[in-house]
Subunit: 225 residues, 6 copies
Amino acid sequence: MKKVLVIAPHPDDETLGAGGTIRKFADAGYDITVLTVAVHMPPLYSAEVPETTTREARAAQEVLGVRNSIFLDKPAVFLGDIPTAEFNALILDQVAASTPDILLIPFYDRHIDHRLIFDACMVAARPVGPGKNISLVAAYETISETHWNAPHIEPNFTPNFCVDITEQIDAKLEAMSSFSSQLHEFPGPRSVEALKALALFRGSQAGYGYAEAFHVIRMGAELFI
Amino acid sequence: MKKVLVIAPHPDDETLGAGGTIRKFADAGYDITVLTVAVHMPPLYSAEVPETTTREARAAQEVLGVRNSIFLDKPAVFLGDIPTAEFNALILDQVAASTPDILLIPFYDRHIDHRLIFDACMVAARPVGPGKNISLVAAYETISETHWNAPHIEPNFTPNFCVDITEQIDAKLEAMSSFSSQLHEFPGPRSVEALKALALFRGSQAGYGYAEAFHVIRMGAELFI
Amino acid sequence: MKKVLVIAPHPDDETLGAGGTIRKFADAGYDITVLTVAVHMPPLYSAEVPETTTREARAAQEVLGVRNSIFLDKPAVFLGDIPTAEFNALILDQVAASTPDILLIPFYDRHIDHRLIFDACMVAARPVGPGKNISLVAAYETISETHWNAPHIEPNFTPNFCVDITEQIDAKLEAMSSFSSQLHEFPGPRSVEALKALALFRGSQAGYGYAEAFHVIRMGAELFI
Amino acid sequence: MKKVLVIAPHPDDETLGAGGTIRKFADAGYDITVLTVAVHMPPLYSAEVPETTTREARAAQEVLGVRNSIFLDKPAVFLGDIPTAEFNALILDQVAASTPDILLIPFYDRHIDHRLIFDACMVAARPVGPGKNISLVAAYETISETHWNAPHIEPNFTPNFCVDITEQIDAKLEAMSSFSSQLHEFPGPRSVEALKALALFRGSQAGYGYAEAFHVIRMGAELFI
Amino acid sequence: MKKVLVIAPHPDDETLGAGGTIRKFADAGYDITVLTVAVHMPPLYSAEVPETTTREARAAQEVLGVRNSIFLDKPAVFLGDIPTAEFNALILDQVAASTPDILLIPFYDRHIDHRLIFDACMVAARPVGPGKNISLVAAYETISETHWNAPHIEPNFTPNFCVDITEQIDAKLEAMSSFSSQLHEFPGPRSVEALKALALFRGSQAGYGYAEAFHVIRMGAELFI
Amino acid sequence: MKKVLVIAPHPDDETLGAGGTIRKFADAGYDITVLTVAVHMPPLYSAEVPETTTREARAAQEVLGVRNSIFLDKPAVFLGDIPTAEFNALILDQVAASTPDILLIPFYDRHIDHRLIFDACMVAARPVGPGKNISLVAAYETISETHWNAPHIEPNFTPNFCVDITEQIDAKLEAMSSFSSQLHEFPGPRSVEALKALALFRGSQAGYGYAEAFHVIRMGAELFI
């Protein structure tokens, strides 16, 4: 039974980027932990946002079959105020505690929190210390932010790992519908329609019905042998 | 009134990659020419394929508002047998004859014909001779083939130009439905569902409902000033 | 009549990178705003520098036909001290206020201020909120700094949009000559000779006499249809 | 039990690039096929070369635990004379016949045969038809040729999949020693010393003792779930 | 005294790309060989072109201080008809004969001949056999063709080696003026004005007056120790 | 006699990345300065670490023939706390003081200190002011950290400059053995075995026995003419 750690910058990123995959892994009996690093707080956001989005995330993660849900409650958009060494230690400790076989992290994209968390995850994922026993490190896409990187100036997302979620697409969309505070109306980029279309496109790209797409960063044959 | 030349490797590529944009341009009164370079022929394909697909293309292009439709009837997958100088001249002559302001060409992708045509188009599009007066050269994506390039070994499609086709998506799908010999059933990558999903995803990426995506190769301010 | 917002890290960047284009747009009746974010200040620079360069910039921008000139007077090389959220809001508010059709920003290059401003501009330029109605986002090159990025380690400037400034090259050089405090003698990289040579080279690359070169980040057909 | 197809341009490439991995897979009970496409022939090579290298390859593959060994005996360096459609069909038929879960192919590198075979493999590996059921497509490095691509002009090999071959390194080197006609003396790039050093370096990069490195082209969760 | 081999696809490429550097090397007493591979011939070009351009090249190379001038007289644009093995041998033999310390080759750009010659040069430049003793392999830019590669789809020229030709710029332009059959009037991309502007821009990029720019492919410390 | 400045983030990086090259340069009579920027300090590291590693570095550098050894003693992992302008000035002053012909700097890799120092070095290395007279700027690889960058998201190390250290490999390994506090046991990535294997692999890649590899950032012909 594999152990999986999904690192989400904010509540909903785990669902947007890897919701179907999480459910597929849960259906296969894997032990899933979701670590949510930040939450939108005053003064940038209103006071009830943290509680609301955390509650929504718990509901979504229940749909997805997440066993362990951890919220670090760091302030969104202010992660840069945490000293690098401290922030790296924060993430490393979580990786050390959950001893994952599979680590899913956000792609380095337009959102500053995604970038800082990507960097800290990359440090934690090094093949020494706690990272040594990870068989697969992969980055997921977050609809909108990932596709807003500047073409050919910043890294552009081109997946090499697509997970067939044809049987999990309904669960993913149901989980997403838990985030009523976060969902846009179509044609907003975080609408249910856009999320479903991206999954169908990724599926078509890889020979499946619906899929979620990842960029493999590091992998060993322990993953499957 | 702008003149547009769309170069399609095979019948249906113009619709797959730029059908909505063609219709949008036609609606704006632009003069559209579609040049289809190759056609699937015996011995690789059965004898009726050329006639069928050409007829389908004419029907689709009528839906899209194409004014001039040219078929060079070169044998698909055997374009490499034509000497480079001759093939370049073939495309250059067409560019010279149609004097486009906007040139839309296939992305350099997994299909050998797309690659050879891309190369010839790039020669014809050089800012000297007939290419000098082109204001915009852009490459469109062909669902499936474009997304089958090897990630990070071959060029990967990352668009920097998205055309809002929210009002043309129905026309695009209607045009596509003309290609009954080419369409796949969902979840095939050339299904109506996949095409619509890609358009919705591209739209979500660019702030529109539905969109078609392009990679800008060369542009001048004459395009809009 | 299109509205254009040019974001300059320091006084002179708008002229170095886009002076001819600004003048061409002004000649076409466009409404041009230049936002200058930072200025060189004590203790790194002597006390009269801010006033001098701002006065030079106003003179240059008058030559170029700029209608609105905004100076935020942030301290050059110390932009990193401004919290990310605050700095993003600063730029976003200006984009919201000027509602541009065309947004020209500095390329992500060797100068730390160019990098931080590029990042904030990319956030403001996202196709949601104030950024939604921008038809063209493009990055200009700043002679010297842009060409000092590490080859193949950092992003390298390869233009896909060249603006013919053959009729504006004299105005560009005249505007540049306003910056007597900033100009180098040839063979300094910010000499009039170097600036003219770059314009002639970019022109030769694109089939024009003189040109300015840009990297298209995001574009919609609203730009020209 | 997984089925593996390794495509080798010439006798020895399967051992150079994936010998330890093949043995590891064989030890795990996987069913391994090696398809060797070309062989060095007169007039470029002396008459006994084909027989010698094929015999050496059979000996090496026996050490590695290869179950099926197929030699197409196409003329090395003259693969370009085979029409593209025919060559693609040749590879596709082999993929269709062996129905692999895992497909290992040569990286697109300095050797023209490696390039042409890479291209044909990419066509065969598309997620339609025979390629649809492949769970993993990855490219291996061939010591010397892969590292002779022009830096930053041609694709450069940067692995994201390293297979721990600490327990198979001896078998790999033993297999390699079968190719007495191909081995160089140290410091030749195809010496036993160089091969062992590369394996140790790849191991150090990934937290193992010895490893072989691959570039993942396409992967699905069927690989491990 | 170093030996230098400059490989020119056609008469004038050696001057366009490396004329000032050749002269600088000659001034330093280096032994320079220029190998011109192809020439423009009937039926694509008129009958007197080969003689004219070869005579012009000899005149130009005399200005530049070239000691050995070799013309292979292969037909321009038809190099693809020569079998790969034969073409590789042709270039390899020349490299073997001239035993260069420094090898300057054309960048892989929009001209098919430049691409084929680049490939053959890369084979000849491998650090085995005749290539083993080369201390520096670098690719030069050919004004126009090199800058017409598709941005971010094909390799884009970003130099990491600039040669100060401030004292050789006059000789370079004089040599170029020998090619009266090839020169364009300004604003043509192969005008004397464009060539001089590019040299001034490259100089400004690297801290010199005028410069020629190269992409280093392979270098050893033997170059300077 | 050339002057060389090697910038090491921490004690041992100069030996890991360029130890053999330093010794080769010293053997050739070059004047070598090593600038070590940071040191591991409390509270992240125990109190004796700074003294130990500095003493080890002095011993190693004596083996390598370093003439001038400078330690700035900045706190490792906390370099980000130093304001950018101040940190840039710190490095620039050292470059100005040592007036190098050759500047060797760390590659931009997984270690935050390497990134910050790379950035400051790139500013100091600009071809203006103190950087104007540098003939060669190149980045070395640091075993482990350099190879832990995310493939195809972050810059990946692909060398274009390999220095033959066949005669210096013993000195390099002896120097490395001075760092008893930093060395890992095999199969740790900083073991003597891994270091030797990397050198042998780089040698095999470039036609040498053992080599060190670099990425050329900027070079002029003054290096060798």
